[in-house]
Amino acid sequence: MFVDSETIRFLWPELILVLCAAWIYLGGTFRGSRRWWVAFALAAYLLALGVILGLEGPATTSGDRGGLASGPILVDQLGMICRCFAILVGILLTLLMSKSTRHDLGSEYQGTLMLLVVGLMLVARANDLVLLFVSLELISVPTYVLLFLGRRDRGTSEATLKYFLLSILSSAMLLYGMSFLYGLTGTTSLRGIQAAVSTQPSVAALSFASLGISPDALIYLSLVFLVAGLGFRLAAVPFHFYAPDVFQGVTHANAALLSVVPKVAGLLAFTRLVILGFPQAASQAWEILLVLSILTMTLGNVCALWQQNLRRLLAYSSIAHAGYILIGITVALADSQRAGDSQGGVAAALVYVVVYAVAALGSFAVLAYLGSEQNEVHGVDELAGLARTRPFAATALSICMFSLAGLPPLAGFWGKLVLFLGAVQTSSGGLTVQVMQWFMILAIAGAINAAIGAAYYLRVIATMFFRAPAKTLDAEGGDGAAVVMLVCASLVVAIGLFPGIALNLARKAEASLRAPVSLAAQDPDRSQPRPVEHAWHAPEPPRTNL
């Protein structure tokens, strides 16, 4: 039995949220007050958070879950931390959207958002291709709705259309990749896939060899499609095109959602799919991702230099940050070829995505707060002299942007630090010379990009501080946005001052991801650089030359 009472017990938070969302939908028909539903949603989030921390906290840390681990959900530290983060994102987005929604659609808005959060929570713990795909769709479908409901104008419609079309396209590619993955192993469970591909030589490999089908080629095909499907969610380069246009068209709150939720989901799905389920792809995957990472951050940063529109600027910045996140994934993939010793690539990417998400949410919250229903803040120029007209908003925005630029001692600095440390460490030992050189290039590219990236954030900050105010902004974004703004800015500072907590949590999460992976004990002599081996360890499958 795969789904038993215990499994259900571990699904309580999700169930609570789904039920509350259904209740919001239902009740919204009778009671239209937006305020009431915002409060209700907040209460639901807090309840779910309490359930996670209270009921599952002790249970999760108690080690192996036995039968559950082969079920559709995984109970581990990574999932738990990410679910808590998902709920935090949900709370912040609820607050942020508390004013920007239309009064008569408030309940639909909040309910949809809540289901989206549930999707994110499920992605964090899916252990099955089916559940993973369905959870990703539980993020995508509400996103379309939220995007469209944000505002009533041409721009929003166009943005929603673009996002919708490209999103279903990327889903198709993701599914195609999944189909090859399934075909390689004959199971949809991620743990099963891992087990199937790591028995050497696997049954499947032998039968493929007899068919003349090269499993390596299948792995590569599958990988490319998975990268394409998830790269869209991360907004990595060639799959990034939608981001600037869509961000420009939607509301600030929705742009915040787009910059955070798909990125977290993409990262988690990638972690689960490729690093957990599919480590055999690592040797091919890191090459692709390394190049994509460099391209992504460079392109994001250099294009952002040109932007006058704030949301567009932040969209390119979000692309650039996807590049940084890919550094972490690349390091994690390169590590998984090496004897057990991890450089913390996943942990670094996790920390980075959290740090980025907080800062991006904060930035968008400030922008949402500064505008009003009629006059949104669009251009960088509109922020001129904000430091004097709205000192608190200006301070919050500059804190968030300094963090995005990676200035110490804010949170973004630590995110970049651990990422680059990982890359540098990978470049300095254990692998072949070419690999090390590539990672050195990656680290240098990252550092150069950090320097380029500072320029456009600084332009915004300079506009706020060093220019005479042109006009006073409305600042009618509502109390919710103001609260989000303050919370995010203080979180950025707090993570910057106490980075140990976040870093160690991420470490634990990564350890829990890798812990049950019983890759055979590797030789203890680590000083010898190990050659890169092909992922597929099949000892030259018997070629039936027919």
């Binding site: 060639p238 095109f241 952002a304 500072a454 501080f465």
Partner: protein, 811 residues
């Protein structure tokens, strides 16, 4: 008071002042914002001075030898611990290695820190007092003082940090403060632009610094300067250094107990336990890039002259006396790292010498008083790097000594310039005022003292320190030629000190760079001499143009053209005393040389007291010859300036205009001003080019053409001076011949350097930015708005990924 209390108080006081100013400033304090700041800074100075006195008193000889070392580390707070950050595959060189990256905020006191702290707090206290007069009535009064004390906080933390990461953090923090202060008058677009430029150029340097940090971390496994105990995850806080042994760790760590040796810890230095070879060189060069950014060395010096857009006290404090010396401080702090790779020392010395000469050449032709001073700062920083690059004990201490004296006289000069600006209604062009010596008597007298010190005239501070730098180079050349450097000069006690693992520089090195080391240092010696001459020349040029000649006062001055208020005069007077006596009044008995005293004080710093640097320690002897030469050179420069700018006979006037290349610069500037864009075909090309995003290329080409034309025209210009008509007309030709031969090429070189600096170096730095922009515009053109194009791009991405693999497999 206890050292740890003092060390905590020194940064805490400015921070408190900053917070008070920022919170209470706008509403409560108003015009009295300067009071808490001045009080706190003076108190911090007192603390620093106490620390300064405490250090030599409590320094103790180490157990085994005669070396006196003083070091105190005060851990404040464990900032972050990254578990299992270091994989075991990395270097562990025998000792225990912590696998965690533990970042703590710990302050350190040693002689170098004490010296820097005293200097920083002293200068900044005076500048705060000065600013209370200078900034009087400004709208951002409270803002200014909040930024100022925040800067002092950052700077004191920077010099007292005890790990590289903290150093980096405050390295950035002073950058941010500098950015805020340069752009203080943000209504001026140039000010905002200059602030941004400074910040971005610094970020380029920081990029190198950050990579250097990563490399340090992967090489040594720690970023601390000091030793730290190995912690088991989450158990012993670092606050108890050496107090109790750590608990046994979970078996992963190679050794359960013991201490991780810090990168710059005495034990490591003593054992010469440093990575040499390519890694060592790479670390040094990367750190060097960081230092070049902050200390405005070639080619990252372009931000400093532009930074003069900020309020003058800021220029004095940040861009002359304190922040820019951070790079020098860092390199001096990392001496043990540099000692193992002599190539990097040569690079440091070459960059220093080159920058000194280049900036001095540029300074000759500037008319903006603050710009002259800014280039002189770059030049003097070059001197400091030159000293550090000598890589000997004498060289490093002389570099630090020059840093110390330079702080006094450069702050003095800038404040004097500020006083002039204050009186002249913010006019800073030296062509528009003159003869102010009667109007501004105090400013004049103090400025003169500053000029003497900067020019290196004998009894003043600059003379001693500059002489020490030059002497150290001479010493280096001497020892390289005679192969003495590895033998050490301090007797048998240190003979084995150089026999550690690391390579001690020796003449027999196979490296090509090392083989020519003697020749390189020899050239640098002459470069230093020429720079000394030029320094005297441009310093007194500025002085005479400002304070002598017929009295000219621009109309902007209005009724302001009088001596500044007392709050501004007293700091000038105090600083001028410092500038006059800082060089030799340290020892009231006058029995020892100032540099000797200073070196003795600094020698208790572990970085300088132990390790291979000890082997280069030679008993100091006053090189009368070198001192005489440099004094003579300085006097010659001063006299030439006097001849050119003091006399007011017509001939001198004519000469002056010739030597100033006024005709030429008029031509040059008018060419600059020619509105090329107005010409239709130029405009068409430019518009066409910028449409495809290559406008910067067109500009670059145009400017290079202009430069080429200038180079081609220069012989004609020269020939003009020697035309027969002029030969006959000017009877004093023979007298002036010397002037022609020396000065005109000098002027031309100066103009060429300036042009090269503006166009090529600045252009390159800008071109980097523009290349990014151009690439961005190219990529932007893909964002055409059609959703199907985006989908096609996605598929083509997939196609490229697959096709590349196919190609790789097939080919």
């Amino acid at each position: 008071m206890d050292v740890s209390v003092l060390l905590l108080l020194i940064p805490a006081l400015p921070l408190a002042a900053s917070i008070i100013c920022a919170t209470l400033g706008p509403r409560v304090l108003g015009r009295y914002c300067h009071i808490p700041v001045i009080l706190c800074l003076v108190a911090a100075f007192v603390c620093s001075f106490l620390l300064f006195l405490e250090v030599p008193r409590t320094a103790v000889p180490t157990e085994s030898d005669r070396t006196v070392v003083y070091e105190r580390v005060v851990p404040v707070w464990q900032w972050a611990v990254i578990r299992d950050a270091l994989p075991q595959a990395l270097r562990s060189d025998g000792g225990p290695v912590s696998r965690d990256l533990s970042i703590e905020i710990s302050l350190r006191a040693d002689a170098m820190t004490a010296m820097m702290l005293t200097m920083v707090t002293f200068i900044s206290s005076l500048i705060a007092i000065y600013s209370s007069g200078y900034m009087h009535g400004d709208r951002g009064y409270w803002r200014f003082f909040a930024y100022l004390s925040l800067f002092v906080f950052s700077m004191t933390m920077l010099v007292s940090a005890s790990n590289f990461l903290l150093l980096y953090v405050f390295w950035e923090a002073v950058g941010v403060c500098s950015y805020l202060l340069i752009g203080f008058w943000y209504e001026k677009p140039e000010a905002a632009a200059a602030g941004k430029k400074a910040f971005l150029v610094n970020r380029i340097g920081d990029f190198g610094f950050a990579l250097g940090l990563f490399l340090l971390w992967t090489t040594y496994g720690t970023l601390n300067f000091h030793d730290t105990p190995v912690n088991t995850p989450g158990s012993v806080p670092v606050a108890s250094v050496g107090a109790d042994e750590a608990q046994p760790s979970d078996g992963d760590a190679p050794s359960a107990t013991g201490t991780v040796r810090g990168v710059l810890s005495p034990t490591r230095i003593k054992n010469h336990d440093f990575a040499g070879g390519r890694v060592g060189l790479a670390i040094c060069l990367l750190l060097m890039i960081g230092a070049c950014g902050k200390s405005a060395q070639f080619p990252l010096h372009v931000w400093l002259p532009d930074a003069m857009e900020g309020p003058t006290p800021v220029s004095a404090l940040i861009h002359a006396a304190t922040m820019v010396t951070a790079g020098v401080y860092m390199i001096a702090r990392c001496t043990p790292l540099l000692m193992v790779s002599p190539e990097s020392q040569i690079v440091v010395a070459c960059i220093g010498g080159g920058t000194a000469l280049l900036a001095a050449l540029i300074a000759i032709t500037q008319y903006d008083l603050k710009r002259v001073l800014a280039y002189s700062t770059v030049s003097q920083l070059g001197y400091m790097f030159l000293g550090l690059g000598a890589g000997t004990f004498l060289g490093i201490t002389s570099g630090m000594f020059h840093l110390f004296t330079h702080a006094f006289f450069k702050a003095l000069l800038f404040l004097g310039a500020g006083s002039v600006m204050h009186a002249m209604g913010n006019v800073i062009d030296m062509r528009r005022f003159g003869g102010l010596r009667l109007r501004l008597p105090v400013t004049h007298a103090t400025f003169l003292i500053g000029c003497c010190a900067l020019a290196g005239l004998p009894p003043f501070a600059g003379f001693w320190s500059k002489d020490a730098v030059v002497a150290s180079i001479e010493e280096k050349v001497h020892s390289l030629e005679h192969g003495e450097i590895s033998a050490g000069g301090e007797g048998p006690a240190h003979a084995d000190a150089g026999a550690g693992r690391s390579a001690v520089p020796s003449t027999g090195s196979a490296n090509g760079l090392m083989a020519n080391a003697a020749a390189i240092y020899g050239i640098l010696f002459y470069v230093a001499m020429v720079t000394a001459f030029l320094t005297a020349l441009y310093t007194f040029r500025a002085y005479f143009l400002t304070f002598h000649g017929p009295e000219r006062i621009p109309e902007e001055a209005g009724h302001h053209a009088h001596e500044s208020p007392a709050a501004m005069c007293w700091p000038l007077i105090i600083l001028s005393i410092g500038a006059a006596v800082a060089g030799f009044a340290l020892d009231l008995t006058y029995t020892r040389q100032p540099i000797q005293l200073f070196a003795e004080f600094l020698s208790t710093t572990p970085s300088l007291a132990l390790g291979s640097v000890v082997g280069t320690r030679v008993p100091y002897a006053f090189h009368t010859g070198i001192a005489g030469i440099s004094a003579a050179v300085a006097v010659a420069g001063t006299l030439l300036a006097t001849y050119l700018y003091l006399g007011d006979s017509r001939e001198v006037q004519w000469l002056k205009s010739t030597f100033d290349l006024e005709n030429f610069s008029r031509w040059y500037e008018s060419r600059q001003r020619t509105n090329w864009g107005a010409k239709p075909w130029v405009a068409a090309i430019h518009r066409g080019a910028s449409r495809i995003g290559l406008g910067w290329l067109a500009t670059l080409i145009g400017q290079s053409l202009l430069l080429a034309g200038f180079a081609l025209a220069s012989p004609l210009l020269l020939g003009n001076f020697f035309s027969p008509y002029k030969l006959s007309f000017h009877k004093f030709f023979l007298d002036e011949l010397y002037g022609y031969i020396v000065v005109v090429p000098l002027r031309l070189a100066a103009a060429a350097c300036y042009a090269a600096d503006r166009w090529i170096v600045d252009g390159l730095v800008n071109a980097c930015g523009k290349a990014a922009l151009a690439f961005g515009s190219l990529m932007r053109s893909l964002q055409m708005g059609l959703v199907q194009f985006y989908a096609l791009a996605m598929f083509l991405g997939v196609l490229v990924l697959i096709a590349t693999k196919l190609m790789m497999l097939a080919g």
